[in-house]
Symmetry: C2
């Protein structure tokens, strides 16, 4: 049976951009599962599946609904144990949590400053009002002020990615010879930027760029189905 995945979209429903949803898209492909994407604007999320969630990704698998990209990955691992592993063993699950927390604090934070106005500009008018009011409360400043610090964050992001760069000198993916959920966690962040913003984040000769291209090539180019933002 085809699974259903609620994704996050702006005014253009074909360009889904949530980094967390992208983690789940890659996880579903990794497990070889068929799924249908349901693009959802911010302000429509509270209405889906009878108010099942405040956030996406939301995965519907028959009678089961799961929210949160990490919980979904764990669910898929448990429910589809014969498909390729997303974690490579119990040690990999715990380690993926560390990669998640590292990416949230050291990658997503600078990324957010860099691309926040690109996100805003691609939302429908109704979603723009929602996004501005909720984010300005959350970050304690106007979106424009957050964005003003963005350019300086490009260097910070690059410096923060150094552990990943060094890891890629040992093996082609964070997961080793082949990708695991850890790769999709970091991929989600760079894909978020790729589909929403034309800004160039990494040098072409950066090993992280080469790794990102490898991730975009996975699953018959699943990540490229949404073109880079122009």
């Amino acid at each position: 049976m085809t699974l259903k995945l609620y994704t996050l979209c702006g005014a253009d429903t074909a360009r889904h951009f949530s980094p967390h949803v992208w983690k789940t898209v890659m996880s579903l492909h990794h497990k070889g599962l068929d799924f249908e994407e349901c693009p959802t604007p911010f302000t429509a999320i509270p209405e889906i599946e009878g108010g099942a969630t405040k956030t996406v990704p939301l995965l519907v698998d028959g009678d089961t609904m799961i929210v949160d990209s990490f919980a979904i990955a764990e669910y898929l691992e448990e429910t589809y144990p014969d498909a390729p592993s997303l974690f490579g063993g119990a040690g990999g699950v715990a380690a993926a949590r560390f990669v998640e927390r590292w990416s949230l604090t050291h990658m997503y934070v600078p990324l957010r400053s860099i691309i926040i106005m690109d996100i805003f500009n691609r939302l429908s008018e109704k979603d723009q009002a929602y996004f501005r009011s909720t984010r300005e409360v959350r970050f304690g400043k106007p979106l424009e002020e957050l964005a003003a610090g963005g350019a300086a964050q490009i260097d910070a992001l690059s410096a923060n990615l150094e552990p990943m760069r060094q890891t890629l000198s040992f093996h082609p993916f964070l997961g080793g010879e082949a990708p695991l959920f850890s790769d999709y966690i970091v991929f989600g962040g760079l894909q978020w930027a790729r589909v929403i913003s034309p800004i160039k984040l990494l040098a072409d000769d950066d090993p992280v760029s080469a790794w990102f291209e490898r991730c975009l090539d996975l699953f018959e180019g699943a990540g490229r189905k949404v073109p880079a933002a122009a």
Copy 2:
């Protein structure tokens, strides 16, 4: 047969302090192996085992000699597969490499500035000359200048540890419910500071402090056998 582990010491041979050696000490205990420690000052390392290594840890297991804490952990995992796993599966090996690179760039770098004069002061006169000349070339500045930036690095270290702090809200060790080599990688850094410097790095109520205490309790308090520096 008892294994032999070459450790790094200063003027006091009982106070071995290399963070990388500490990773191996914990790895050996994790595998339940008996080993003999051979404390070695910096300038004596080139002479051990007929010039087998420029660095410690060096592990001698019968006819096999292995250098480098990560290589040693992989060797132990392969050679003693029936003892508790250090990685928790293949995914855990790749992930431990990421934790290693993260710790080297985001934890060991600030730590080094903070404790470098404590290291210097605990070396024998001969080792002090060696340490100063090699490190001043490596870092491109006098030790005292590196150390001058140390106080500011305490806050940087604490900020850098945030991914770890958040991970510990999910499970008590980086490895999950029980420690893995990833834990010993980070433990090595804080133990390096604990045995060589009286400086207080973390608040008592920091979850990372509680985790460090849990690590010190492991293996009948193996990490406490060297008392904290006064």
